[in-house]
């Protein structure tokens, strides 16, 4: 276990240093992912010559764990850092501080090749069903991408697995030879989910998976996410701006604002009895029918 806090490296002999350092997360075998005190800062380009460039604290100290088979939702408004957090968890961004441990391994401290190999166990679904599929590739290749990148499987075995996951998300075998533009938004999102599913990952990070879809299609994808969890026991980290969506999918939810979790807990509890002012404002702002 590594902790990027510089003081932690001083060794066990100096007990005061260890005491000062933030406690390292205790890894339970049932814990799929443990995010510990993650910070991510960006520097914006200077606006004026004589002024220091602005430092953006996109994620500013976030800690949470997700148990096996659980679903954790992060909800917040645009610019609150939720998408950056998702990419940090996926190891697609370097951290300014903190650690992300996947099944006890700090993914940001792993050598490139080991991280690559580990990636089969955590996959991602993106927001834009039009932008997240390469328009020049056929469905079969898109869906097979994670195993193509990580495994040395034979062609026919690969094809069999592609067909298997496509069926699991409700698509047909004949869809393998089509290009993404031949599908509607909802079907494309199914393809994206199939791609994330093909390595049988323990964790799927879904960043706004339904916000680009038409309302009537949204429901199909949300149901599919539920079914897949029932069937394969996938663990979810769901990022969304839509409180109702998070409430529908997740057991546990965190409300994020300006890079930090302002409130976190079991979904029902948070929605029924919000404590933080920001959560209350957010809940009050949702236009409801019959309210």
């Amino acid at each position: 276990m590594t902790d990027s806090d510089p003081q932690a490296g001083a060794g066990g002999a100096d007990s005061t240093t260890v005491a000062v350092a933030k406690p390292a997360p205790v890894i339970d075998p049932s814990t799929v992912v443990a995010v510990h005190d993650v910070h991510k800062h960006y520097t914006l380009p200077r606006e004026t010559l004589w002024r220091d460039p602005t430092l953006v604290h996109a994620v500013n100290g976030v800690t949470f764990t997700i148990e096996k088979g659980g679903s954790f939702g992060v909800v917040g408004e645009s610019g609150c850092g939720k998408s950056t957090l998702a990419r940090c968890v996926m190891g697609l961004e370097t951290l300014t501080q903190g650690s992300v441990e996947f099944r006890g391994q700090n993914i940001h401290a792993l050598p490139v090749e080991e991280l690559r190999q580990l990636r089969r166990h955590f996959q991602m679904v993106f927001q834009d069903p039009f932008g997240s599929l390469d328009p020049r590739m056929k469905v079969a290749r898109i869906v097979a991408e994670p195993i193509e990148a990580l495994e040395d499987t034979k062609l026919d075995e690969r094809r069999a697995r592609v067909i298997e996951v496509l069926r699991a998300v409700g698509l047909k075998e004949s869809d393998t030879d089509k290009y993404p533009h031949e599908f509607s938004g909802g079907q494309r999102q199914r393809i994206a989910i199939a791609r994330a599913l093909i390595t049988r990952p323990a964790l799927i990070v879904a960043d706004e998976p339904v916000s680009a879809l038409d309302v009537s299609v949204q429901a199909q994808v949300l149901n599919l996410l539920q079914d897949l969890q029932d069937e394969f026991g996938v663990t979810y980290l769901l990022i969304s701006h839509d409180l109702a969506v998070v409430k529908f999918v997740c057991d546990e939810v965190a409300v994020m604002n300006e890079g930090v979790f302002v409130e976190r807990g079991p979904t029902e509890e948070i929605f029924a009895n919000p404590q933080h002012d920001y959560t209350k404002t957010l809940l009050a702002a949702v236009p409801q029918i019959g309210g």
């Binding site: 408004e77 645009s78 509607s184 938004g185 909802g186 079907q187 038409d214 309302v215 009537s216 299609v217 949204q218 429901a219 199909q220 949300l222 149901n223 539920q226 701006h241 409180l243 109702a244 969506v245 409430k247 529908f248 057991d251 979904t267 029902e268 929605f271 404002t281 957010l282 809940l283 009050a284 702002a285 949702v286 236009p287 409801q288 029918i289 019959g290 309210g291």
Partner: protein, 330 residues
């Protein structure tokens, strides 16, 4: 008094695959000071309806039927006559406040533009008026902001500027096309509250277009639900939402997770099978036939008749009784 009377409005678009009727036989009336919501998914024709009223359809589109503003058919107006209507008698707010403002002009100049055009006010008068408008839409420090460029404002402030612009000539009708879709929920609430209050204070009529049922429910007196270019259900908002009667409106309502559902009660969402139809090949009869649970052969040849099920509450469905029964038993 009837302010706007839309009768048998049909919008046709020329596409690569032939002409597509994006809005078909739409009729509705709007009284002075009344608010109307149009709700539906992408491609249902709600935005094209707004653009047809404004005479701003894309180059490949045209409108048939009549759109009467205070008794005069706008569809017969010349381009010059329409210029007198736009921004003067009808104001419009668009979806994307970022791209809907000219990045090279100050917001003050952009707000003043319509007044200088329609009211012929001079620069100084326009400035006073712009300051008043900025204050009215809740922008802090108007004297400072009047010289700002759009990129210096936040998304919510930009939308406030758009509203100030649309209201600058005191129009009789405001059309707001998805005014909050690009904004966060907290900002959305502020903007919608602002619009609703201003409409009330100024005694204007409004058409609010949205895909969000909650937004429509909370902000307008009457509602039209559109699907595939046609009106499927309409009536007083509370009435319609209390007794959703068209299979599509029911499906739409049930497909959206609600924040006050509990997870146990809604383990699965009801889904509408299939996808939103392509405008170029809409079926001849009811546009919802391919996705409807109640569909019979009678639905296919002609558009279904409009049935009035309560005062002002109309549904275009042959099987409205079956649908209502099923809904009540839910």
């Amino acid at each position: 008094m009837t302010l706007l009377a839309v009768d048998n409005l049909t919008v046709t678009l020329n596409t690569v695959r032939g002409p597509a009727r994006a809005v078909r036989n739409l009729s509705f009336e709007l009284e002075k000071g009344q608010t109307l919501g149009i709700v539906g998914e992408s491609g249902c024709g709600k935005s094209l309806t707004a653009l047809a009223i404004m005479g701003l359809l894309p180059e490949n589109g045209w409108a048939d039927g009549t759109v009467k503003l205070a008794g005069e058919n706008l569809l017969t107006y010349s381009e010059d006559q329409m210029c007198q209507v736009r921004g003067n008698r009808i104001g419009m707010v668009f979806q994307e406040p970022m791209t809907s403002l000219n990045p090279l002009h100050t917001v003050g100049r952009q707000i003043a533009e319509a007044m200088r055009l329609h009211r012929g006010v001079n620069k100084a008068e326009a400035r006073t008026e712009v300051l008043r408008l900025l204050d009215m839409v809740g922008i802090p420090e108007p004297t400072k902001r009047i010289n700002s460029y759009p990129h210096q404002l936040s998304g919510g402030q930009r939308q406030r500027v758009m509203i100030a612009m649309a209201l600058s000539c005191g129009p009789e009708l405001l059309i707001a096309d998805e005014p909050t879709t690009a904004l966060d929920v907290t900002i959305q609430k502020q903007i919608l509250d602002l619009i609703r209050n201003l409409i009330e204070d100024l005694g204007m009529a409004m058409i609010l277009i949205s895909h969000n049922l909650g937004v429509i429910y909370q902000n307008v007196q009457d509602v039209i639900v559109m699907y595939g270019g046609a009106r499927v259900e309409s009536g007083p908002t509370h009435d319609v939402f209390a007794n959703l009667s068209h299979p599509y409106s029911q499906g739409l309502f049930e497909a959206v997770p609600q924040i006050d559902d509990t997870k146990a009660s809604r383990r699965r969402l009801r889904t509408i099978p299939g996808t939103v139809p392509e405008l170029a090949d809409l079926p001849a009869g009811c546009t919802f036939q391919d996705r409807c649970d109640y569909v019979t052969d009678a639905c296919r040849p002609t558009q279904p008749p409009v049935v009035q099920i309560a005062a002002g509450h109309n549904v275009a469905c042959l099987h409205v009784d079956a649908a209502r029964k099923q809904w009540a038993a839910r």
